[in-house]
């Protein structure tokens, strides 16, 4: 009997070994290195990764007007009230870490980031506040999808909108938008009206100006408190950065 009990005890230990080697590595993963941004001051970015310097700063290819009609929102005009533009109005209290997410319809990893941030938000509740930005990279479809996403955001369906795009390409026609509204449970008439609205246009221009201000090289990008992240990052590291922002306080950049 003692032998069996020995085995049982060791079985438990062994199970812990096997379970542990998947779960525990992330516990010992440290914080990434940061390097300060020259501009805007006070912000920093996660060093290294696939996003090396050397890219021309991202200039939204087709947002906020073209050569004939220059963008009405210049990056410098946002400096005075940077945090409101970046994080929206939701995140003005200490203790809440604001996250600004920048995504585009054509970018595969953006879909992953949107899903992950929305999971994080539902997990952390009021500890974080996410502001969704759209940075349409390429062409008409990209812009229309961005407008539809921002219109859906006005009915609290931004994440639902992006999830509906996971397998289904965006189509800019009336039937598709009506079907989409039904699927994500939003008011169709309002969605169409909002897509063409001045407030959505302005939001796109602000997002584009922010991307130039922060010199994003592409999508996705996010700003967590005062930390700028581009490229892939583990969930654990992201959570650690959120905690760090909460401890250190991010409002110095505002």
């Amino acid at each position: 009997m003692a032998d069996r009990r020995t085995l049982l005890l060791m079985l438990v230990a062994g199970g812990a070994v096997v379970g542990g080697f998947r779960v525990l590595p992330s516990l010992v993963e440290g914080l990434p290195d940061f390097e300060p941004l020259d501009d805007p001051p006070g912000f920093r970015r996660v060093a290294g990764g696939s996003v090396s310097s050397g890219f021309n700063p991202f200039v939204g290819l087709s947002v906020g007007g073209s050569e004939e009609t220059p963008a009405r929102v210049t990056p410098d005009s946002l400096r005075a009230d940077l945090c409101s533009h970046l994080f929206g109005t939701a995140a003005r209290s200490e203790g809440v870490v604001p996250i600004a997410s920048f995504a585009d319809y054509y970018c595969p990893y953006c879909r992953v980031q949107t899903k992950r941030l929305s999971d994080l938000a539902s997990d952390l509740g009021s500890e974080v506040a996410i502001e969704w930005h759209e940075l349409p990279l390429l062409g008409e479809t990209s812009i229309l999808a961005a407008r539809a996403a921002l219109a859906a955001k006005r009915q609290d369906a931004y994440v639902a909108f992006h999830e509906s795009l996971l397998t289904s390409p965006f189509r800019a026609n009336a039937e598709y938008l009506s079907l989409l509204s039904e699927r994500i449970g939003v008011d169709h008439t309002r969605l169409i009206a909002d897509m063409e609205s001045e407030s959505v246009s302005r939001e796109l221009e602000i997002s584009a100006a922010l991307s130039r201000l922060f010199a994003f090289v592409g999508t996705p990008a996010m700003v967590v408190g005062r930390t700028v992240i581009q490229g892939e990052i583990s969930d654990r590291t992201l959570r650690r950065i959120i905690s760090l922002e909460r401890e250190e306080g991010w409002s110095s950049v505002c």
Binding site: M1, R4, L11, A13, V18, L24, V28, P108, Y109
Partner: protein
């Protein structure tokens, strides 16, 4: 048209033309046949033409848009897959162009973040066949290119390139070679490619496209890309071969579709050695029948059987490993003690143990499969990169060893013991089951060095591969139990219990202790000496606590468990980071190993050198064996040390993203892994896991032009 380019320019002409180039380059200012490159960190783009100038009367021009993508970056095919964006080019600034035929080389399939994409990595040249408005007159090519390049971020590119071609003659050999190489990858028409009987059925509720076709030469590892217009996205196909590979059947799931008329279906099929063809299938009213009910999807059945046999043998051998042997011997000892209690009890007990082994192995397979499905990189042996896993293993092995050499007995509180005794056979059976499962648990650390190949194959393959390999692994590990269950009488043939059992136990304990020492050595490399020292000290304390006399068993166990938790946290805190140390140069056996650097490989090859890459780790026993038996001995050591041969070592003892990605590029998830590159084989020759001097020497010979040198050293 362009695909016949090679035929238009027979080799005999090429020599004459080469002479013409030198002549014309020397005598006149004919422009180079390529535009100034546009370079970003993601991509370098260039316009190329075969012709250096427009010859009198020439009505056509062979051009190409060349993209050199940096490591990790991709761009997309005309049908990009679920997301993505194909390159778009506006030629409106060009002059003297009547028409253009822009061709798409066959794409590759990428699955990133669970999203299917079709496109290109590394290098692609889009061949362009241009018809001139006014034959013989100068041409200006102006391309405004809009391109989406993605790694884990997407960066749009928008740039203009132009190329002026004056009147003149001459061929740019280099541009011609690049354009031709990719023109060869542009899918042929079905008839030209020997593809016949192409039929397809799109089911009415838009769930899948079922395609069938025949090919003169048999298919080897086909992939199927179906196109149904921009608003339909298609998933990963289930492809099956029949009729000795001449028949290809594929079912492509439709992930989302337009409501309304479909664009005509186009099917592109690719295969080994650059085969690609595009066909417009004939619509059929009933879906074509699959050649067989179960997919092989490009993986050879014979290979699967071979791997399954390896897994079975590997599992069997594992029983003799120091990690597992004690369990089996304890099990046998128990059976002997049962003695006359009859065959049925023995049989039941051993069957339960076998079930335990299988349960654990299948559970592990399921977990690995799930991890892979959600996109976690799983590998066999990777757990050795984790200091906490190592620490826990050292602890378990240490405690187990101490128990075997008799430092203490794990005794139950007497109350529980009595209850168990009265409960009949059920807890006994559970104990047997647990013993089997525990044998399998203990086998995991030992299996990494010995079963790397089979498990890596499984993890790189489909669900069915994982199932087959782990099942046979489990069967191999369980076979001693199954044999006893089949012939319980065999137990009686074993020597009767006696003093020798004590000796055996002590011997096994020492073996386990040895294994623990090996892991301690590995841990020093992974976690640093401080964390290792802490783990060893804590293990000693825990063993000490467990061995204390005169303290109740419960108290000892609780204290030990608490100490174990402290120990694991201490390891986590004290380990000196998880950073890679793959960049340290080292020297051994007369070979100067350079640190692994992927970019350096291409540079060295371009200088005509042969590059030998060895991915190794402290915890990889097979790697150690390869090193001791092959790499550090002549003739291999002499060759690797000779001029013109570069030995590069990637140390994977600690996690290293770059090395993991490099292995993944070869579809490998485990080590040992050795590749030889050279001017002869820039794509590299992958060597078998178990190296032989012949295999290495042969690969070095094939890779390099320095055959004599490496032979004579």
């Amino acid at each position: 048209m362009l695909t016949r380019f090679k035929a238009d320019c027979p080799r005999i002409l090429a020599g004459a033309m080469l002479a013409a180039i030198f002549f014309s380059a020397a005598s006149s200012q004919v422009g180079a046949a390529s535009s100034d490159p546009v370079t970003t960190p993601a991509v370098t783009a260039q316009l190329l033409t075969v012709e250096n100038g427009i010859a009198p009367g020439a009505g056509t021009l062979s051009a190409g848009l060349a993209l050199d993508l940096a490591e990790g970056w991709k761009t997309y095919w005309r049908t990009p897959g679920e997301v993505g964006f194909p390159p778009e080019i506006d030629w409106s600034g060009s002059q003297n162009i009547a028409s253009m035929d822009f061709q798409w080389p066959a794409p590759e399939r990428f699955t990133a973040f669970g999203i299917e994409n079709f496109g290109y990595h590394d290098e692609v040249v889009f061949p362009i066949r241009i018809t001139l408005e006014e034959p013989g007159a100068p041409v200006r090519l102006s391309a405004d290119v809009t391109l989406l390049t993605c790694s884990d971020i997407c960066v749009p590119q928008d740039f203009v390139m132009s190329l002026d071609l004056p009147s003149g003659v001459g061929i740019d050999e280099e541009s011609a070679a690049r354009i031709t190489a990719f023109a060869d990858r542009v899918p042929l028409d079905a008839s030209a490619a020997g593809i016949t009987d192409v039929s397809a059925h799109v089911d009415p509720d838009m769930r899948a496209v079922v395609i069938s076709m025949r090919r003169e030469a048999p298919f080897v590892v086909p992939d199927v890309f179906a196109e149904l217009g921009p608003f339909t996205s298609l998933g990963r196909p289930d492809t099956r071969l029949g009729d000795d590979g001449h028949l290809l059947w594929a079912r492509v799931p439709i992930l989302s579709a337009v409501d309304g008329p479909l664009q005509d279906l186009s099917v592109t099929v690719t295969d080994s050695s650059g085969f690609a063809a595009t066909a417009a299938p004939r619509a059929v009213s009933e879906p074509p029948e699959p050649p067989f009910a179960f997919a092989t999807s490009g993986v050879d059945i014979a290979a699967l059987i071979w791997i399954a046999a390896t897994a079975f043998l590997g599992g069997l051998v594992l029983n003799a490993m120091p990690c597992v042997l004690p369990v089996l011997s304890i099990k046998l000892a128990t059976a002997m003690r049962l003695g006359g209690d009859g065959r049925i009890a023995v049989r039941r007990g051993f069957l339960a143990s076998a079930a335990g082994v299988m349960a654990f192995v299948w559970g592990l397979a399921a977990v690995l499969f799930m991890l892979r499905e959600i996109g976690v990189t799983v590998g066999w042996g990777l757990q050795f990169q984790n200091p906490i896993f190592l620490s826990l293993t050292v602890l378990v092995l240490g405690v187990f060893a101490a128990n075997l050499v008799g430092a203490f007995e794990i005794a139950l509180p007497s109350r529980l013991q009595t209850r168990l005794a009265h409960a009949g056979s059920t807890p006994g059976l559970f104990g047997d089951f647990a013993a089997g499962a525990f044998a399998a648990v203990l086998a995991t650390p030992c299996s990494a060095p010995f079963l790397g190949t089979a498990v890596a194959f499984a993890l790189g393959g489909r669900g069915i591969d994982i199932a087959v390999v782990f099942t046979f692994l489990g069967l191999g590990l369980a076979s001693p139990y199954l044999v006893i269950a089949a012939r319980p009488g065999l137990v009686r043939r074993l020597p009767k219990p006696g003093r020798w059992m004590g000796v055996l136990r002590a011997g096994l304990g020492l073996l386990l202790g040895g294994t623990a020492l090996w892991l301690v050595w590995v841990m020093i490399g992974v976690a640093g000496p401080i964390a290792t020292l802490a783990s060893v000290a804590m293990t000693a304390v825990i063993v000490g606590v467990l061995s204390m006399r005169g303290v109740s068993g419960t108290a000892r166990s609780v204290t030990a468990a608490a100490l174990a938790v402290v120990m694991l946290f201490a390891t986590g805190t004290l380990s000196d980071g998880l950073s890679s140390r793959g960049t340290i140069a080292s020297e051994s056996g007369g070979i100067a190993w350079l640190p692994f650097e992927r970019g350096e490989i291409a540079r060295r090859i371009s200088m005509g050198e042969v590059v030998f890459v060895d991915v190794t780790a402290d915890w990889c026993l097979t790697c150690k064996a390869n090193k001791a038996l092959v790499l550090d001995r002549d003739p291999v050591a002499a060759s690797l040390g000779s001029p013109g041969v570069v030995a590069m070592q990637a140390d994977w003892t600690r996690p290293d993203e770059a090395i993991s990605r490099y292995l993944e590029g070869f579809g490998r998830f485990g080590i040992p892994f050795n590749v030889v590159y050279g001017p002869g084989v820039p794509e590299g020759i992958v060597l078998p896991e178990l190296l032989t001097a012949d295999a290495v020497m042969d690969a070095l010979d094939r890779a390099g032009t320095r055959r004599e040198l490496s032979r004579t050293e």
